[in-house]
């Protein structure tokens, strides 16, 4: 099997650069605004879009993404909106994945959820609160519909644990750069570089670094050692702070353009 995401990482590897992955919650800043944001990010040259499934109890997320999820949930965002956002991304010609806490998948139906990801052009799903031990049913479904199950590893993960987790992963390994929740930070922790090299010794899968990246300089630095750079809260902050939806879209386009350049300057 080969997903758009798999093909993307083959492409960037051939171009000797890292991929830029942008995160946006479905239904944020509005149902329609999310689709416009995806189009703007794709037009600015972002390689892949990570669609967040807003959830009532996001324990891995800092205040920025919590606020975006609250706004989205108040607007009534549901699974159908998540799949529509995926469809928008694939229509824009970029690879797309969903990031979701486990309960919405379980409630929707594990098999049905994987099927809907595939049918809407999605490449895979990042499940930040689903350890591999609880994944038996999920891995059957991702295998059946040929989508990538993407797992997170953390600086606290032992080498043995990294081996186990990456053996169940496809698409890319999500390396959480720091011990903590999502949110823009002034520097990317030194833990990230160390974690990526520990993951490299266990797998040949692409490795993308998330948590805390917000600037061109940080993107360049991370692109020096990782295969992908994930940026979320920095885009969301711009959309939250914008005085109008158009200003917000302009602001994320400008940041995306900077980051797109950054991931090409890393090596």
């Amino acid at each position: 099997m080969s997903t758009s995401l798999d093909r993307l990482f083959e492409k960037v590897r051939a171009e000797n650069r890292a991929a830029l992955i942008a995160y946006i919650p479905a239904g944020f800043p509005s149902i329609d605004g999310c689709k416009k944001a995806i189009a703007a990010l794709a037009a600015a040259g972002v390689d892949a879009i990570e669609i967040g499934f807003p959830y009532s109890d996001p324990v891995m997320d800092g205040p920025t993404i919590q606020e975006a999820a609250d706004i989205s949930l108040r607007a009534g965002t549901n699974a159908a909106d998540v799949f529509a956002a995926l469809k928008t991304a694939s229509d824009c010609g970029v690879a797309s994945v969903v990031m979701t806490y486990w309960n919405p998948i379980e409630k929707y139906g594990v098999d049905k959820f994987a099927q809907a990801i595939s049918e809407n052009g999605g490449s895979g799903v990042i499940t930040p609160d689903l350890p591999i031990e609880e994944s038996v049913q999920w891995l059957v479904a991702t295998d059946k519909y040929e989508i990538n199950p993407i797992y997170v590893v953390a600086p606290s993960s032992s080498d043995e644990r990294i081996g186990k987790v990456t053996s169940k992963t496809s698409g890319f390994v999500y390396a959480a750069s720091i011990m903590g929740v999502t949110g823009a930070r002034t520097s990317v922790s030194v833990d990230a570089r160390d974690l990526v090299s520990r993951v490299r010794s266990k797998t040949s899968l692409p490795i993308a670094v998330g948590l805390g990246v917000s600037t061109r300089e940080q993107a360049r630095e991370v692109a020096g050692y990782a295969d992908g750079v994930i940026v979320g809260s920095a885009f969301i902050k711009l959309l939250l702070n914008a005085t109008s939806e158009k200003d917000g879209l302009d602001a994320i386009s400008a940041l995306a353009t900077e980051l797109v350049a950054g991931v090409r300057e890393g090596r």
Partner: protein, 398 residues
Amino acid sequence: MIVETNALDGHFGEYGGRFVPEALIGALNELEAAHISSQKDPVFLAELAQLHRTYTGRPSIITEVPRFAAHAGGARILLKREDLNHTGSHKINNVLGQALLTKRMGKKRIIAETGAGQHGVASATAAALMGLECVVYMGEEDTRRQSLNVARMKLLGAQVVPVTSGSRTLKDAINEAMRDWVTNVADTHYLLGTVAGPHPFPTMVRDFHKIIGEESREQVLALTGKLPDAVLACVGGGSNAIGIFHAFIPDAGVRLIGFEAGGDGVETGRHAATISGGSPGVLHGTRSYVLQDENGQTVESHSISAGLDYPGVGPEHAYLHDIGRAEYRAINDDQAMEAFSLLCTTEGVIPAIETAHALAGAMIIGKEVGPDATLLINLSGRGDKDVQTAAQYFGIPL
């Protein structure tokens, strides 16, 4: 009837398990190992037993309440007096155990969530006793409703952080505590206050509370010469209920009955009766019954009792329910307050409003089973903290 509820991998049938960020897996493994080794370590067990004798005030007594029982079909009713423990509830049993484990793991800081403030006060107490730094997360809404307990925690040296995200209640306090833990896991132990959360918490917290059932089983046998016909407890997260149920699980003739918070009535949707009115799902790291909507989003719970006002429940209760070993019923706010008042005026005991749900349950069950039956109720907490709420409810000017 043999019921295996001590699964080593942290599952109770299809419930339990671990649904947490990868960053916490190492800490949960460390905690599980520390718990297992401590339960086999005579020095640890002796230290905890000594603390319970000289600090908690264990064993707690049982009290027979005939004047109250006259309103419950004349059944013989015995109360297990966890309200007489230091800090006023069963919570201290778990808190002292986990605080000792924190020291055993070489950690210096504990964090805790609290709704009504009882677990926060107990955690702050244990932290003061053992010289640990303590941060308590509490929904901003609850800090206003329970300002006296906020002051108690501060007097005990804890830092209280009001949580302003989400619904600003217990569930959001747990989210914030989890975020703190993910960030500071290297030197911090999350002292979770109930039998929910990721493995090993449901098993470990139960192990620290099962002393309630072990003591009362002996006490009831000594007093009456037989086992009780039913054991009753209120259920929010479910720690006091599991504590008193556990020793009786192998006794097939003993009914185990949990009473959830029915709020305005389960049919109104404004309740916290997770098993009676919820469905299987994952919340706060464990699979169990959850109050959720059709998209898997958690629904806010409602109860006059802050300690039961939680949209989840411990996974072992979900399992005991599904296999039919325990029964769960909902008691609405008014029923609970009627029983609260009745215990005050017939027996001179002011119970916690949480506990009043079990007392209201006894008034129903007593009439069903008749005067020959013996009911054992876990009187899990005292009502000092609820004086303001109760005065307001009964129209007593303050």
